[in-house]
């Protein structure tokens, strides 16, 4: 298509939008709501994921040995742990190290209180492996594996925390995906209606175009422009709103809830929008394009 014809078709596409103002506004609003929610859930999921990773770092599994376990058995357990793919890191904590750590955290400044134990280590059976995971959701699998190993007396895990965090993250993702899918369907339906109205308004013109030798692509072009423009406007508006909102919210939370911002860092605006801008634009333009193409196929037979 020539540049001048392209320009002509783009102008016709804009005219279509203007002629069907109400339908166009409804389509843009639905598209904007769809992209806005998508962006919102994306930001929440990314931040929650960050929070989860942060919390996961502190979640550990502790393996205690049988009283009569030999050094060889302990070493074998260590080797087995090192081979597990879900393990991020692990360390051996001897009975003495466990006692000294306990003294530090429980007696603190009152070191003299611990002196009464003299050389008698009350934690002499508490030598252990402390294991940190890459992915908290794999904790149960690791625990059942360790429990079967020879020389293992007990395995401690922070199962509830891990499961709650993982489940909550999955729930957020599931809800956000469902809402976004429903909204995409609504957006396609509305664009369909808008383009259908456009076609019925221009039916006579389309008939004339076909009679004087317009190619299918020429007849379709203004409607594709219409759908894509609606998609584009419908994705730019929520992106701007989200950009402004997100920056303000993280600044507000950082100022207002110091404790919370010390616990974990919000994902920076740039890292969120580096992904969100291209994905939203592709989503908006894609929905607009698909919506108008489906309508053309159904009503235009070109």
């Amino acid at each position: 298509m020539r540049l001048s014809s392209l320009g002509y078709n783009i102008r016709q596409g804009f005219k279509n939008i203007w002629r069907n103002k109400m339908f166009s506004i409804a389509s843009i609003a639905t598209m904007a709501a769809c992209i806005f929610l998508f962006g919102l859930f994306y930001a929440v999921t990314v931040n929650f994921g960050g929070m989860l990773k942060n919390a996961e770092k502190g979640v550990s599994v502790t393996v205690y040995f049988d009283n009569n376990a030999t050094q060889d058995e302990i070493d074998d357990i260590g080797t087995a742990i090192s081979k597990r793919p879900e393990v991020r890191s692990y360390k051996f904590v001897s009975a003495d190290e466990a006692w000294s750590e306990f003294q530090k955290s429980y007696f603190g400044k009152h070191k003299d209180a611990a002196d009464s134990f003299a050389d008698d280590n009350p934690l002499k059976d508490m030598a252990n492996y402390e294991i940190y995971l890459k992915d908290v959701s794999k904790q149960s699998a690791l625990v059942s594996f360790l429990e079967k190993q020879a020389g293992v007396r007990e395995v401690h895990q922070s199962a509830a925390t891990a499961r709650t965090l993982t489940d909550f993250n999955s729930l957020v993702q599931l809800i956000s995906m469902s809402i976004v899918i429903i909204l995409i369907a609504v957006a396609i339906f509305l664009i369909n209606n808008t383009v259908t109205v456009g076609i019925s308004v221009r039916r006579e013109e389309i008939g004339i175009m076909k009679l004087i030798g317009a190619k299918d692509s020429f007849v379709r072009a203004p409607f594709i422009v219409e759908g894509v423009t609606i998609g584009l406007i419908g994705s730019v508006i929520p992106l701007v709103i989200l950009y402004v909102m997100y920056g303000r919210i993280i600044r507000y939370v950082a100022n207002r809830f110091n404790a919370l911002s010390n616990m974990f860092a919000f994902a920076p605006v740039n890292s969120i929008f580096k992904v969100l801008i291209p994905v939203s634009l592709v989503l908006g333009v894609g929905i607009g394009y698909i919506g108008s193409r489906l309508t053309l196929k159904k009503h235009l037979h070109v």
């Binding site: 001048s4 009679l211 030798g213 317009a214 190619k215 299918d216």
Partner: protein, 226 residues
Amino acid sequence: MIELSHVSKTYEAGVKAHALKDVSLRIESGEFVFIVGDSGAGKSTLIKLLLKELTPTEGSIVVAGRDLNKMRHREIPEYRRKIGCVFQDYRLLKDRNVYENVAFAMRVTDASKKQIKRRVPQMLSRVGLASKYRSLPGHLSGGEQQRVAIARALVNHPKILLADEPTGNLDGHNTWEIMKLLNEINQDGTTVVVVTHDMEIVRAMNKRVITIYKGAVVSDEEELSS
């Protein structure tokens, strides 16, 4: 140039109805031909078949060396650009002025701006509407609107001009003006096929006349005597 061999067209809406029955005819390049007949005789079906809006139930149609039965969907636009068409109801875009209506026919063929700017004023002068290029169709008389339609039909240099009842909505004076214009176009080398039921103009023009009655060609005369 235009050749129909044993063409039949049947519509099936509950009952079978023959719009055309075993029609065979040949129109040479550069001819001026009237196709006449009563309402429902099959004249408009014939035009639609020639424009490839319809496909014959039986028989073959060859136009400018192209067998329309073998033409693919994507080849139709290119074919239609070689055939200008004019209708009783003008079929102009009411929201665009005279210039835009004619330019529109060139735009759909992907013509350049330069070509459009050169060719459209020429065509408007040819049909005597150069001074009214800014007018909207609603502000023109029936005869003027039909001239715009003729300018639009001719702007892409078609080899054939099909006119379906071009004077059906016009008064006597405008009817003659349009027929005079069609005759001039024919004299410039364009094949002109006019479908009409107005026997007065047919007699006055002294051209070849093909008569269709109930879907069949019943006569084909070089000229109709008054």
